[in-house]
Amino acid sequence: MNEFYKIDRDVTLSEKIDDDTVVINLSTGCYYNFNATASYIWELACCGLSKDEINSQYTAAFHLSTKKAASDVDLVINTMVSDSLADTTDEKPVTCELPTDIAAYIVPAIEKFDDMQEMLLLDPIHEVTEKGWPYKNNEQ
């Protein structure tokens, strides 16, 4: 079965910073650092590629054996799904431009942190707008 990945952007925040990607799961309160290679797989998944397509793209990018590439991709994808950073789907999501910056190969690694969980689980944000903090909805 050709599996795609869907990221709920209301719950999962991510940003590529230098070569790594930092991912925050607001529903579990954990945050992650994807190293450059893991980051590449994350980006391919975010771009709407299926698992087979990610495997092919990844194999070609780093000139790896199919077996090694599949094992690397599995490692990253499994964490993404098991930690609810992404959901699997049969429907192809909207695609975006594939990443072109590819760093040198290193073994993909994801570091998980839960030391800010207490804070992240409670929506900590008081949004500030021109209207002040807080403002009343005049329509009411």
Binding site: E15, M116, E127, W133, Y135, K136, N137
Partner: protein, 799 residues
Amino acid sequence: MNSNIITFSDKLRKSFTDIKLPQIVKNIKIGKLNIRFIFFNHVMAELMTRPFQHLTSDSCDDDICFTIFAADGKSTGISPGFELIVKDGTYSTQNQNLYFNHGNLHMLHNTLTTISSLVDTGSHEAFYYITSLDELPDYEKAAPFRMIFHWICIQYNMNLIHGSVIGENESGFLVAGRGGAGKSTISLLSFINGGKLLGDDYVIIDNETCPTAFSLYNSIKVNPDIVNIYPFLDNYLANRTSKGYDKGYLFADEIPGLSMSVSLKINGIIMLTGEKTSTPRFNKIPGLKALSVIGSSTVFQMPGINKNFLGGITKLVGKLDIHEFIIGPSINENVRLLTDFINTTPLISVILPVFNGSERLTAAVDSVLSQTYENFELIIIDDGSTDGTESIVGNMTDIRVKYIHQTNKGPGPARNNGILNSSGRYIAFLDHDDVWFADKLERQLSFVKHHPEFPVVYCNHNLIFKGPLEDYPWIQKIEGEVRYPHEIPSGMFLDNIVFDRVGLFNPRYRTAEDSDLHLRIKDAGINITVVDDVLFNKHIHGGNISQNIQSNRHNVTALLAESIKRKMFAAKLKVSVIIPVYNPDEHLISCIKSVLSQTLQPYEIIVADDGSKNNVRESLAEIDDPRIKIYRQNNKGISGARNFGISKSSGNILAFIDCDDIWVEQKLELQVERLVMDSSIQAVFGYIRQFYSPEVNMDYRNKYCFEDKPAKGIIPGTLLIKKDDFMKVGQFNENLRLGELFDWIHRFKKLGFNYAVIPDIVMYRRLHYNNNGILNKKDRIDFVKTFAQIIKDKKNEKV
């Protein structure tokens, strides 16, 4: 007269059978009673079965099944001929009720509301009529069919009683008192604070065997004052849109995490007299007083009740102890005392740390397991033993024994580990080389239950020396008499709440850690006493840690120095409260009032105006307090405003609150005590509860849901820190529009600082149109960048 009553009853019954509309059937079960409701109008069916939702049943096929027909005249066209009974019934001018009890027929007709209830206990049928649903009063929506249930209950040796039932585990107490005595308030508070609630205002008591209470309605009356204390309750008011109500009501099952109990055994009656005193207390009182109050208040609520009712109440009161509860001024203290009172199965956690003490461990454990008071858990903390302790404990079959292994850290951290894993309301410690007497827990528990003003209790002990006394030069002897302190862990018995106030054992002290804790408890002004009985044997042998004289002396000196420092700091305590504002509205007034009503008063309130377009000073004109200082700067964002406020502060403790939130009145007192007493922490947070600001509409409420229960609030509004320590960490990062506290906490932890989160709710966080998450893309990037920096720092630390 009788013929008129029978004619009226027949006519009413016939008018219901003539209704041609489809029937809507709903079934409920209350103990042995099965009730079938038959309605002819969907709105009425939904409205009037809402309070019974927790009793819903699939069918009504059992032997005892009563059918209640309910209809309104407007939608069904029926119109009973009340004129038939006007001259034959008994008229009560008080509520303008007309009622009669004749053979199997019982009837009450309220001439104001037009509600009529007729019960035929012979045919097991009842009829409920109202002219129009528009006339249905709020109290009828919260507790419908009261009179009908009264007559049904009488038939089955049950009583519908005006009162609440609250409890713990499987048993409870009937809370009685005249209207306005505070039954609903105290019951609701007990419920919110973890107790069980079976019913508020009306409950059914089955007198057949041991008295058992059954729930009837899942509605709770809410006094408007309660909403001021617990603003989140406003979210659940079922009649929140009604104007001019003096009491609201809500449905228990709408408050997340709370569900009403269906039945509880009744252990006693708690009477509320409405009397108040400075120190709340319980007094045992004679049954006659309860009989009169329950009887008269129930009759008042349900005029026309059957004379058999009083027989049932007399029987109930005769079987139970009656306790008068005279409440005090502090709601928290009242609830705590009540919780203690109704908790019939207190649990004690016994914490036994052991490090290579297998030789003596079995005797210590046996002395715990053979206690006359049996409802405890024994937590053995193996502090990294290498002498087979684990297998010795592994062979223990008593299910009360729990085993936790940790790497060797010393007795203080081992006991802390036990406390953190404990579930008991009370904590007792036992060193592995000491032995308790069999009644040790019973005696100390009994003492604290009767003297809750002493949450810490020690006891006396025998000293048992291995070998001659001369082998122990560190033992103090005055005029030949051995002196050894009472205040040692094996004799200590305390309320778990003490640790929330002063913190755990300080891990810095490997010896004298018990003296440090004792001193902190004393410095906090917590009452300590000694039960004047010898309740354990203290064994002095070659392996006692306390014989390490050098370390002991050093630590005792250090902890005394800390105590002096604490007292000096407490004497010159000045709390500066920083409130950043930007175009604030009237929520700021509520916010500042909550700060000014603190039990520990702030030294100053710094309103840091971040370039508001409105006049902040003018908007605060109604509050005249010289401690409020308003400073203005050009707009820099919330972190910049907080930093600006800090720069203007002159206190030695900083606390923060956002201008839309509300503090609980004991917030500062609880947090300052913990900060001052617990030298292992540098900052204190607390729990929060969120609530929808009254102005937000249903669309918002549906879109932005939250789990409505106390949540750990690691947010600026709960932060309390010494100013010196804050300055060591540094200011909030003004470049971050979001995530500034994550960045700050990260820097705080980098210094080796720790924070505590006290378990009390310290703040109510207002949810309104403007704080619903990360909306702006740029802010989201900033937020993630904060974490990238944290990760980078972590990596650098590793290197």
